[in-house]
């Protein structure tokens, strides 16, 4: 992983008068990334007001219109407004990206913490499963899971798609969480807590989990970028979101492939939307890592 996190000890978490201000000062690029993310969030939440057209409304009179005053980014073969579809597409991208990354990382963190804390057989069993899961390239695993689970939509989101994207994240987060936990378990204050007769629950909640918050946050942001990219790839292969739902990867796939040589705007803008979103999450994630992880700070 590009984001291999090392563990900060409890007191190494930045303690500053105003952490937000510090972040802005130290990590201007990260702030830039955050601003782009916020822009997408605004698009997703306010799509109804921002998008000039209904993203699913067919208007054959405007078929394959070039970008211009009427349609900022042009239209597709059904005469649907590309700009509006991108704005609404932010919903799909963010929902899938954020949810699958959070689910994957949370499950992974719990697994990893349990593995590291209990050690012994539990650790061994979990690690073997993690090894096996890590032997599949992400997209291969996701494609098999999509094929196995099919589609299950609720609240306008395909939950099986989220599961397929979250699953490959679990073992990676588990690895990181385990090594963080191991280094904490080795600390004297854990021994002390154990000696004092505190319950596992209390030790995990009070001492272990707070200490893996930093790697957790780093991984969550890093995987959001990857999840968005993976969703786009799956939709491109026809395995993700389905027409007429606006989704960026979908806008590059299927029959669009027949038209993009004559109507390049059909693929230029959605592709740029994906790139910018992933770029922003990466930028923010990198800065967050640098900021939370004192060892990497120069």
């Amino acid at each position: 992983m590009a984001t291999v996190a090392t563990t900060p000890s409890a007191d190494a978490l930045p303690k500053r008068a105003n952490p937000l201000w510090q972040f802005i000062k130290v990590q201007p690029l990260g702030v830039f990334g955050l601003l782009i993310i916020l822009l997408y969030v605004v698009c997703a939440l306010g799509a109804k007001w921002i998008a000039p057209y209904d993203p699913e409304a067919i208007d054959f009179a405007a078929m394959l219109a070039k970008p211009g005053e009427e349609h900022l980014f042009g239209t597709d073969q059904y005469g649907r407004d590309v700009f509006s579809r991108i704005v609404y597409g932010a919903r799909t991208a963010l929902a899938v990206g954020i949810l699958s990354s959070m689910f994957g990382c949370t499950l992974g963190a719990l697994l990893g913490a349990a593995s590291g804390y209990f050690g012994g057989r539990i650790d061994n069993a979990i690690q073997r499963v993690v090894d096996i899961m890590l032997s599949f390239p992400i997209i291969v695993l996701a494609m098999v899971v999509v094929a196995v689970l099919g589609k299950r939509a609720a609240l306008g989101i395909d939950w099986n798609l989220i599961a397929a994207i979250a699953l490959p994240i679990i073992p990676k987060m588990a690895r990181v969480a385990r090594s963080s936990t191991l280094s904490i378990v080795a600390m004297p204050f854990i021994d002390a807590a154990r000696a004092a007769g505190f319950s596992h629950k209390r030790i995990i909640l009070r001492h272990i989990l707070p200490n893996i918050v930093a790697p957790y946050l780093i991984m969550v942001t890093a995987f959001m970028a990857q999840a968005i990219l993976l969703e786009a790839s799956l939709s491109f292969l026809g395995l993700g979101v389905t027409e007429p739902t606006p989704a960026w990867g979908l806008m590059l796939s299927g029959t669009s492939a027949d038209f993009y040589q004559t109507a390049p705007w059909m693929i230029l803008f959605p592709g740029a939307a994906i790139t910018l979103a992933v770029f922003a999450f990466n930028l923010f994630g990198d800065s967050l890592r640098d900021w939370l992880d004192p060892k990497l700070k120069s």
Binding site: E56, A57, I58, F60, M63, Q77, Y78, A147, G150, K151, A153, G238, L239, T242, E243, P244, T245, S253, G254, T255, A257, D258, F259, Q261, T262
Partner: protein, 526 residues
Amino acid sequence: MLRTVLRTVIASTAALLVGAGIAGAQTPKKGGTLNFGVVAEPPNYDCHGSTTFALVHPIAPHYSLLVKFDGKEYPKVIPDLAESWTVSPDRMTYTFKIRTGVKFHDGSPLTSEDIKATYDRIINPPQGVVSIRKAYYADLVVEAPDPTTVVFKLKNPMAGVLEALASPFNCVYSAAKLKENPRYPETQIMGSGPFAFVQHVKGSTWEGKRFDGYFRKGQPYLDGYKIFFVKSGGVVPGILGGQFDAEFRGRNPSEKAQLLEKMKDKLTVHEGTWVNNLMLVFNTTRKPFDDVKVRQALSMAIDRWGGSDALSKISILKFVGGVMRPGYSMSLPEAELVKLPGYSKNINKSREEAKKILEQAGLKDLKFKLLNRNIPEPYTPAGVYSIDQWRRIGVTVEHEQLETKLYQERVAKGDFDVAVEFQADFMDDPTAQFSKFLTKKLSPSGYSGHTDTKIDEMYTKQRQTMDVAERTKIVREMERYALTQAYNVPILWWQRIIMYNKKIKGWYMTPSHYLWQDLSTVWLDQ
């Protein structure tokens, strides 16, 4: 009857077939290799167990048939291995005279025994052999009284026997080789067609070379042919790059535009109707689709005439038609079609009516799921268009686009509200075209699950009516009934657009992409 069909086929293609008339007059030149693209690859090589053009396009040149459809004058049936034939006055016995001196590619002679063995394999496949159209030929008994005679006797009256025997999937195999191994055609190619098999490089190419012992003297003209297996999106780049010169299944209008823009004066374009359509299947075992009024209302909401104009520019969907291909002799004339629910040219009135019906049925905010395959052309445009049309009468529809295997499973299980199905066959015969409109009892693909045996009765009756005029009457009545009951309603029929380099001559377009692919008459003007 023949002439009317002919006229429509020619009329629809003539406009773009400027050079064809001259080509017919030219003397064919010998030599050269025809390179063309095929957008799918056959799983194995056995014609009898296949339903796909992916098999026909590479394999048809290797085999002969008993009789075949004429490419120039579809749906006329012309001799292939049969020299001539006679039909008994009661039309229950068909006697074919087989050519003499026909050789298989291995040099062994082809006799009536081989044809009998072939049809026996189709009608009563031995253990382990897949014969898909077995049921279609169940009423036939084959005999080979002498080496040059094959007799087909009918157990029950059956219309369209000749057309059925002209199936491009009924490749004639060697009786001797079948005796050794009834499954040899799956892995080996040994026929009597104009071209012998050279090699198949999986996932990339297929090659055939001229068979000098072919029974039509002087044919084939080509030295050989080479197929490039490409994805659909690879056809235009392949033709533009000069890697191959044709694709014979059919391309969409945007691909036509791209090719015309780049190589206008080097391209021959054919356009016409295609014996394929997309239809909506209502699951009549689910509410509210058990209500004929609701089904009609949902069909009425779809603007077929307007959709035809627009969709034909972006997809292969084009012609408004009923159960039979528009223009085919037995189809309902347009004047009658527009009287049926969903075919009115006044869409606003139709929609109002549809809204009213749904309101009366208490289904003002009807919501359902449309099950579809995730194949971009033409399934996605059909789904997207239908959903948009239904939205205009206040019906909310969720598009469920699944991979073919998942789609098939759901449809077969009856686990859907409304599905987008397709109808495709190598000919217009109503016995083939109506298969999805029947009850499940009579047809495994009667997915709508209705139990209306009236359609079944009419179907059986037309199949056994050998008088053409009489049969046409029954078929039209059946079509009217089927469209009114609306268990299945066609959305649009497909347009077939074939483009190839002008140097290719002697290829003719039929409304089916399964026909006229043995390449015996094709030659290169270079």
